[in-house]
């Protein structure tokens, strides 16, 4: 299902075309259609769904290669098998991947004069796990884009005995402190925010915010507030240009899946000839990066589009009893056709039809556009999640615009497709 985006602002975009000297592709060549991305560019990098580096490799992992340098130096390491994750913000990489290439990023010192010798560590939470490691400054290059100066990243401590150890308030769920546990050598968080935690982690005092810590050379870490500019941050916001968001594109695949899928990660929205919005539908997100999905009579206000989730996750009582693999996936006996409606904060709606298959039938395919699993409904808050994971990306061009920045004529944060 190839999408052709018709130009909505023809005169301006034709002008841009003329300036860039770029032609070719379809008549809608100013938008991120498949033709114009195949031509490559400074702001495009290959993003591939394929078997990755883990010994028990999960499916639907879109990988890119990232180059990480000691700030202001030529000491660099390319690191492959970095997961592109639109559900998080900031670059995270296994310490072993860096040290193998001789890149030793020092930990960020705690600027508090009362804590000399302390360094800053981060505990990144997931629903049932965490990643623990130091915060370091690095120069980050992806494709032809390099951060202007350095950006805070997280170096995940994947040594056999992390030092300092993750505090008990952090160690909730399973540690994703290894390539095997994470399914990747790192995470490139390119969601709709710049800093990973925002103002909540910058507030003082910080009880129960088990995210940023100040750690002495030996002894116990304690939680600290971390200024927004010092938090692990989305490197895209630090590029000198093409820095207002990203676009992800994956090809359509068979409903039986494919062994691999070759797509693109594009930097910038409406900044180059190859990344205009075209007639994509824009759904603005709230301050948590979420919008509302209506599904099966439920209104789910904490929904999001997430390349880091390897299936669609939603609650469907008609699939009760079809949960499998420790309640992590659905295994319906027959292919099931479903539909949902997304609505942005701007009131724009979008209807989606999708299918789900039995996850036990995927064979050796790592690219799958129709796998799903359960997600919780959280009563007590009228809260609920529809996680539009990687299956939603196949056959689509999806735009992720950064909070507080204008992208293609609309202020982020927003999703568009």
């Amino acid at each position: 299902m190839k999408q052709v985006h018709r130009l909505s602002a023809l005169p301006v975009l034709l002008g841009l075309l003329a300036l860039s000297g770029c032609g070719g592709g379809s008549s809608a060549s100013n938008t991120a259609s498949q033709n114009s991305l195949a031509g490559g560019g400074n702001n495009i990098v290959a993003m591939t769904v394929m078997p990755g580096p883990a010994s028990n490799q999960p499916f639907n992992q879109p990988y890119v290669t990232v180059k990480i340098c000691l700030p202001g130096s030529a000491t660099c390491s390319p690191v492959s098998d970095i997961l592109v994750d639109t559900g998080s913000y900031g670059l995270r990489v296994m310490a072993s991947a860096l040290s193998a290439a001789g890149v030793n990023l020092p930990a960020t010192p705690d600027p508090n004069p009362l804590a000399p010798g302390n360094t800053i560590q981060e505990c990144l939470p997931f629903a049932d796990g965490y990643a623990w490691g130091r915060v370091s400054l690095a120069s980050v290059t992806v494709g032809g884009e390099t951060t202007d100066g350095s950006v805070p990243i997280q170096v995940i401590d994947d040594s056999p005995s992390p030092m300092p150890a993750a505090p008990s308030g952090c160690a909730v769920g399973t540690a994703l402190n290894s390539v095997d546990a994470l399914g990747a050598k790192g995470i490139l968080g390119v969601g709709v925010f710049t800093s990973d935690c925002g103002s909540y982690c910058a507030e003082t005092p910080t009880p129960d915010k088990e995210i940023y810590y100040s750690c002495p050379a030996s002894g116990n870490c304690s939680t600290v507030s971390q200024a927004v500019t010092d938090q692990v941050s989305n490197p895209v916001a630090y590029f000198p240009t093409d820095n207002n968001g990203v676009v992800l594109q994956l090809p359509s695949i068979s409903s039986n899946g494919a062994p691999t899928a070759a797509g693109y990660l594009v930097f910038g929205i409406g900044t180059e000839a190859n990344n205009g919005l075209g007639n994509a539908t824009v759904l603005t997100a709230n301050a948590s990066g979420n919008f509302t999905t209506s599904f099966n009579g439920q209104s789910l206000p904490d929904s999001f589009i997430d390349s880091g989730s390897n299936a669609l996750f939603f609650n469907d009582p008609s699939l009760a009893g079809d949960e499998c693999h420790s309640n992590q996936f659905y295994c319906p006996p027959a292919t099931t056709q479903l539909s949902a409606t997304n609505q942005g904060g701007n009131g724009v709606t979008s209807n989606i039809s999708f299918s789900i298959i039995n996850v036990d039938k995927i064979g050796n395919n790592y690219a799958l556009d129709d796998v799903a699993g359960p997600a919780p409904v959280i009563s007590g808050f009228s809260s609920g999640y529809f996680d539009w994971g990687l299956p939603f990306f196949y056959g689509r061009t999806i735009y992720f615009a950064l909070d507080g920045v204008e992208a293609g004529g609309t202020m982020g944060p927003y999703y568009a497709y």
């Binding site: 308030g169 769920g173 399973t174 969601g191 909540y200 007590g380």
Partner: protein, 161 residues
């Protein structure tokens, strides 16, 4: 004085006493799943927030709000915590909130990763005596943990207020 009021008054009074005590320390704290209001932890890293309690026919809700972070604790008439829900930019202190049930969460999380490595944005533990559902990403986490055996018989757990 009607019977219902007599049954609820002690726990309300105790909560009020604990609230005024905690204001001198670190703010309102909260009990663990399965615990009673008598066992409220006064851990110094407790949420600094506002406590608001609401009575329903068969249960009470104690809501602790700290900016965008909200934790609801649901207690039976006897003062036992049968459900906890949370919503906020980061997860709450689950080790404290799940209390004696925390090791079971840890085991279930390990089992989930055993068969299915990678980062997870949703989690479900559904056992006859313990249900924990959790989901989200940084800036938007939420979850519920409850003990089915303690849920008042006429309360639909999916319709908590």
């Amino acid at each position: 004085m009607n019977r219902r009021l007599m049954r609820t008054l002690p726990s309300t009074a105790l909560l009020a006493a604990l609230l005024s005590c905690n204001l001198l320390m670190s703010g309102p704290a909260h009990a663990a799943l399965g615990g009673t209001v008598d066992s409220i932890s006064t851990d110094s890293s407790a949420l600094r927030g506002q406590l608001r309690s609401t009575g329903f026919v068969d249960y009470d809700v104690h809501q602790i709000t700290s900016g965008p972070m909200v934790v609801n604790e649901y207690t039976t008439r006897a003062g036992q915590v049968f459900a906890i829900t949370w919503h906020g930019p980061v997860p709450p202190d689950l080790q404290q909130l799940l209390g004696t049930y925390f090791p079971r969460f840890q085991s279930a999380a390990a089992a989930a990763h055993q068969n299915n490595p990678g980062l997870h944005r949703v989690f479900t533990l559904a056992q006859p005596d313990l249900v924990i559902r959790s989901a989200g990403h940084l800036r938007a986490f939420g979850g519920i943990a409850y003990l089915p055996a303690l849920v008042p018989s006429d309360l639909a757990i999916d319709q908590l207020q």
